[in-house]
Symmetry: C2
Subunit: 262 residues, 2 copies
Amino acid sequence: MFGVQKTTLLNIFFIGSGKLAHNLAMAFLQTGDIHIAGVYSRTPAHAKAFAVKFKTIVFNEIKDIPANCDVYFLAVSDTAIQSISDQLLVTGIVVHCSGLMPLSALSAQLHKGVFWPVQTFSGAYELEFKNIPVCIEGNEEEDLKIIEAVAHRISKNVLRVKEKERQQLHLAAVVVNNFTNHLFVVAAKWLQENNLNFDLLKPLITETANKILKVPPYLAQTGPASRKDLVTIAKQEELLTSNPSLLKIYRLISSGIMDNIE
Amino acid sequence: MFGVQKTTLLNIFFIGSGKLAHNLAMAFLQTGDIHIAGVYSRTPAHAKAFAVKFKTIVFNEIKDIPANCDVYFLAVSDTAIQSISDQLLVTGIVVHCSGLMPLSALSAQLHKGVFWPVQTFSGAYELEFKNIPVCIEGNEEEDLKIIEAVAHRISKNVLRVKEKERQQLHLAAVVVNNFTNHLFVVAAKWLQENNLNFDLLKPLITETANKILKVPPYLAQTGPASRKDLVTIAKQEELLTSNPSLLKIYRLISSGIMDNIE
């Protein structure tokens, strides 16, 4: 039944044509042995642009999607997964790409799995996929092997995970991506309020991320709180009296840093 | 009086031989027209290693430091600046390298300034200096011009700032560096508690920092809080009941993200 056993050319299908779908399609195209059989999107113009870029075919109705592709990528928002899956009448493996949603959101599918790349994707450019970890799940060993083979075509870091592990990892991803970015947002606002340019922080932000590639984060910690420099902390809190929301973050994270030193 | 007006070869002196001194010395050596006249450190072994690496001379007593170098870099901890400055009997310009300490910490000096690179330095490797912003201050225009000329030798981004602006920028640097790193620390601990590998987050951390080089941070925001996805937030809070310190951060930052969306 599955192409992977009969031929090296795997047929995959994209449902959704957003940032993740673009990044996945680009990575798969570059492997040379994956065929993108088609694309469906709620927004036909997006599906068309995707089809032109990746030389594939648009299907305008879910019911018209060919039933026998090897893998269907449900690259849609978490809230759309269940409802699209419910309408999808196919025999191939359907995978969703969410860090959070349970496999059971694909209850309508006989063959199902999860294909979650631990990364944030931008509309502006495609990322090199080979170093991006891909967490996979499946409810049958046979399906899981195919999902694994497909994942290995684009990533050298493929992990079989349990649902709870994926959710724990997703939570950590929220912390290092969404929360870190929020710190960038509040720092940018603070600088803007004081007529200073956020660009001044860019080399520091780059180096902050680079450093933990080389040393564990707890060894990379510096600054007033890590020195328990209460005089500096008091001065900085005073500077922040005009900005109560940043002051709250300042207090909580500074005390967290100090707790970790003890 | 100052070498910069008589010759292109500037004489600089390092007081302190830590990470910042190493990074500055490497950058200055590469310019070819700066001479490192000597080094002093509280820890003689560190001064010696520095002197060997940068082909300069160790001075073991503050009182023996030659008086007529062009610029003295006080690359020491904030708390040591005032006391070392008080013992330093020189005629050249003394600059401290702190984001936080006032210029008045150098009250014993006739010619003084601030030379603050907006960056975090590691012991493990030297950074390319040319893109690192350097904030400078001085109490006389003549001194400031020399400090500026010296800074321009190693950085293409030299800014004259006021003391308060430097402190505001330093606070933002604490947020994007120390606080971001704390998020990495708590995420690493959370993963360790759950037997998951922090390395899985490294490509995401790299991309989180890369993204804001291309788009403003408020446009780079994604995740449950930015979608006001209260169902997911409630699920993640439940996952965190075993980790009250991360739960506090989760609640505060998630609500901050939601407030910014409104």
